[in-house]
Amino acid sequence: MSDVTLETAAAKVPEAAPRSPPASQIGLLAWLRTNLFSSWLNSAVTLLIAYLVVRWTIGFVEWGIVNAVWSVPDNQTQACRDLKGIGACWAVITEKHRFILFGTYPYEEHWRPALCVLLFVGLYTVSAMRRFWRKELALVWVATLTAIGVLMWGGILGLPYVPQERWGGLVITLILATFGLALAFPLAVLVALGRRSRLPAIKALCVLYVELIRGVPLISLLFMASVMFPLFLPEGMNIDKLLRAQIAIILFAGAYLAEVVRGGLQALPKGQYEAAEALGLSYWQKTGFIILPQALRLVIPPLVNTFIGFFKDTSLVLIIGIFDLLTAGKTAIIEPAWQGFGVEVYLTVGAIYFVFCFAMSKYSQSLEAELNRHRNR
């Protein structure tokens, strides 16, 4: 009987209707509860921060949008000055954006540096896509950089010649950073390999280079390039200031990147080297096939860290009188009519730097994830 009762009882109980878990366990509410309001202290901190964020946002919107002045008629900044700081004077950007972006480049030729900036961005985008990672990419780089050189200098194809000291703004920053890193990276790989070489002369040379360059600040290298170096040249011979700064940046970045790459080389287990040798590969084969691909993958985060650092360090060229993006921004607000609107200009310049650096950082994250997929099991 008991069996029957049991069976019927079991059969009679209807299958439990699917019920959602209590609202206090899942969903937004639960997330808020566990993460933001788990104790009275956390709640207090959450509320305080939320208050500050909201207040700051409202303040910024009021300053930056509601009360802002977007343009003024021919350099009459009285409208901006009458705001007395309660609103932003974006008119300074409206008026000066072309100077900030292109510096003292001839006004009617501004399309040339503008096109160069687009070419740079296009070059970065194409190089970032893995499906374009072929031999031809090197040709694309050479072609694009040559096109940029032709556009900036001119002098042929009916473009008027523009000397380097008139170049300026964003394009200078991109030139210094791109050439600097593109040339410093191969140099760094060679130096890193050289530093681990068994040949004493090569090793000593590489150690000397890295330690010497790393031992001085970038600013002093730029000084050397700008102030000391011309005095050693024969009378009348003059290497352009921009080129000197560019070489200083390449050498400096090379030393730092070399140490990053060496870190990757050292992190590889010795077995990898031995296995490669056991296969009978030559030194260059071993390095090219086995060692570098693994070593470089290991050091993507510090590499990008260094790249981002150098992108911003190019602004140090201001001490030798080259108008990069930041210097052009600073110079834009020297004109008496526009003095006192530094915040607006610095915010704009900061936003431009941020876009480039953030893109680099995001890209490195995705690249890292992709290249390390085999490890995530």
Binding site: T104, Y107, L183, P230, G236, M237, F323, E335, Q339
Partner: protein, 349 residues
């Protein structure tokens, strides 16, 4: 071999490109003044004057919104270019910082430096430079609020004065007050921005630093007209044009270009009337405009060089009024010698 070979090829390509990009620069640089001893001929054969200017100083040299250099010092570059070529636009401006300005001149990167550089004995003797002409007598001055009603620094008896500590500015102020028997209360603040805001907030009656610095501060105020820079200048900062030493001919051209601007003002020659002075009875005017005397060729310039310079640039007073008056700098020591100032031109004879 493949991956490394690829990156190596890329490196080579990039390096080759770097070199190709660098070459025009090098090739062009080779044409730079071959012999520092004769800048004049080098400038002439290049067809362009290379002028070292400040990277940005309100009123003196700064690029405008279109990237065109403007300012008091910039006009001197244009004036020298007009004297040599008859064309104020044949100038290449090289922005120089306080650190690299002397090297730029010494190494031949620039021909002339119009860059608010103070003429001192040590700079004149040890840097291989010459200072042919002082185009602006700067020096420490005072700024007060217009509402105070003070018109001269002598009236600052009993005033509180904002000053940065540990600078020559502070010593100059003390020395000046002692020698003029003026009692004052110093308000000493280290950071410049705080010092300025203390002055603006009314913590002190006057604020003292170099006149050009005062002018920059004044023009940054919401209502510049509320502030007055007093005419007295209590220290010596003669800002001079610079050329390489041992190049007397080019130095002469630069020096007499400055004197031309001064003489033009002294004799009332302006941008507007310089063309109509052919029958002016004054002999000196006749010599300046090249009617007689043959002064231009003595400098290696055309007979009508002066007419072209004044036509393109204006006289000293016009240049001053165009660039320095709007930012609140008064003539003070830069007035003509017969107006109580220091600007004096030897005769054109």
């Amino acid at each position: 071999m493949q991956p490394f070979g690829l990156s190596f090829a890329r490196a080579l390509g990039a390096a080759a490109l770097g070199v190709t990009l660098a070459l025009p620069g090098l090739a062009r640089a080779q044409q730079a003044p071959a012999a520092a001893a004769n800048t004049f001929d080098a400038v002439k054969s290049r067809g362009q004057l290379v002028c070292g200017v400040n990277t940005g100083l309100a009123g003196f040299a700064q690029p405008d919104s279109q990237g065109v250099w403007r300012g008091f010092d910039v006009e001197y570059c244009r004036a020298v270019a007009t004297a040599i070529f008859g064309d104020p636009n044949k100038v290449r401006y090289v922005p120089t910082t306080a650190q690299n300005r002397f090297t730029a001149l010494q190494s031949g990167e620039v021909d002339v430096m119009a860059r608010n550089t103070t003429w001192t004995l040590s700079r004149d003797t040890s840097l291989g430079l010459d200072f042919p002409a002082v185009n602006f007598y700067d020096g420490q001055g005072f700024m007060v609020k217009t509402a105070l009603g003070v018109k001269s620094a002598k009236e600052l008896e009993g005033a509180t004065i904002c000053v940065q500590p540990g600078t020559t500015t502070e010593q100059n102020l003390t020395d000046w007050a002692r020698s003029n028997r003026i009692k004052f209360t110093p308000v000493v603040i280290e950071r410049l921005e705080e010092l300025v805001s203390a002055y603006v907030a009314g913590r002190c009656d006057a604020y003292t630093t170099d006149v050009s610095g005062l002018a920059a501060t004044r023009s940054a105020q919401p209502k510049p007209a509320d502030h007055l820079i007093l005419p007295e200048v209590i220290s010596k900062e003669p800002l001079a044009l610079g050329v390489r030493q041992g190049d007397a001919r080019f130095a002469d051209v630069v020096r007499w270009t400055h004197f031309l601007l001064l003489s033009a003002e002294e004799f009332g020659i302006t941008q507007a009337n310089v063309d109509k002075l052919g029958n002016d009875p004054r002999p000196e005017v006749q010599r300046i405009i090249g009617k007689n005397g043959g002064l231009g060729p003595m400098l290696g310039l055309a007979d009508d060089w002066a007419v072209k310079v004044v036509k393109a640039i204006g006289n000293y007073g016009e240049v001053f009024d165009r660039h320095l008056k709007p930012i609140g700098i008064q003539r003070g020591p830069n007035a003509q010698w017969n107006q109580g100032g220091l600007q004096f031109s030897p005769p054109f004879r």
